[in-house]
Amino acid sequence: MNEMVKMVVVLTILSCVSGGSLAFLRQNTAQQIEYQQLKFVKGPAIMSILKGISNNPIEDRFKIKDGDIERSFYVGVVDGQAKYVAFESSGGGFGGPVGLMIGVDLTNDKILGVGVTTHSETPGVGARAKTDPDFVAQFSGLPFKGQFKVTADGGQIDALSGATVTSRGVCAGVTAAIKVYERLKDQIKEKAQAFK
């Protein structure tokens, strides 16, 4: 009996100490880990969209509460003025959600660029949304409003051949981003001005 109590006590104490110290470490590294993930996972997409900027958009970011979720916005500074902002969106593709990074020019509300970040589309078919620069380049320079659709649905974007579902997903993601932007536009512009 005595031995059994000892076993339970030792295991419990050990687990508690372990859990406690890991929670402490996690809390202390959380910010650094978030930064690293931004830098290596989302960073390349952000940097390819926000061209000609003089700051580091991964450091110059802010968050806005949108209903229940918090959205991150990455600011691009040109000539000492916060001119661009990039943020994430997603649309339903063929194999799951297609994650997008969308850059907007704050001065004229036009799309600066769209990049696919994460996806689980078919390699060689839907995955071309990420690898074929011509597809996402269609969005660049278009006004960031209204609704985006593929040409087969009466829209303005030529779908990737054989990957209409993925192309629709990307269009839906951009359209969703437009709604977010319209909803939060004033807050975005106000907060972006803080970065120079």
Binding site: E3, K6, M7, V10, L11, L14, S15, S18, S21, L22, L25, R26, T29, Q32, I33, Q36, Q37, K39, F40
Partner: protein
Amino acid sequence: MAKSIAHEFTKGLWEEIPPFRLVLGLCPTLAVTKTVENGIGMGVATTFVLVFSNILVSALRKLIPSKVRIACFIIIIATFVTVVELLMQAYAYKLFMKLGIFIPLIVVNCIVLGRAEAFASKNGIVASTADGLGIGIGFTLSLSALGTVREILGSGSLTIWGDLAFHNILGASFQPFSFMVQAPGAFICLGLMLCLMNLVGSK
């Protein structure tokens, strides 16, 4: 006593060098040694876990009831593995992306549990530290050696750390055998090195 501590340390470097002599911990050995950098990273991570789990197991060896000792060892090991995982994510994210799943899998690396059970639970803290450090360094050296051979033959380059890399070391006309960076290449390489070590050791 001092002599025996030196012995505990050096035995991990040749006599009981983990993947070759003990033939333990083969999963990370075969999986991550595509490049030298990965081998070193994995070796250092494992050494960290080995040393600290050995210290803690040795310090608590009189408190841990023998019937639940394996469970206790696993808690200690898993804690340090998670520490490594968090630190690597925070400060060496590129390496973390390459090693990925093999970092949490250090928990089930038999070298770590093997040392805790076979050595640290029966010996003092200093000896256990020396043992962990020796075995860890031996493991790191083995992985780096395997990584060197596989990287030179498999991709024709040698990446020491990050950007410190040599390309085309066998000349530009060298056609890398992609076979060497795949799993069978790892097996054959390991087998040949084991064979070579036995040849040298048996003389």
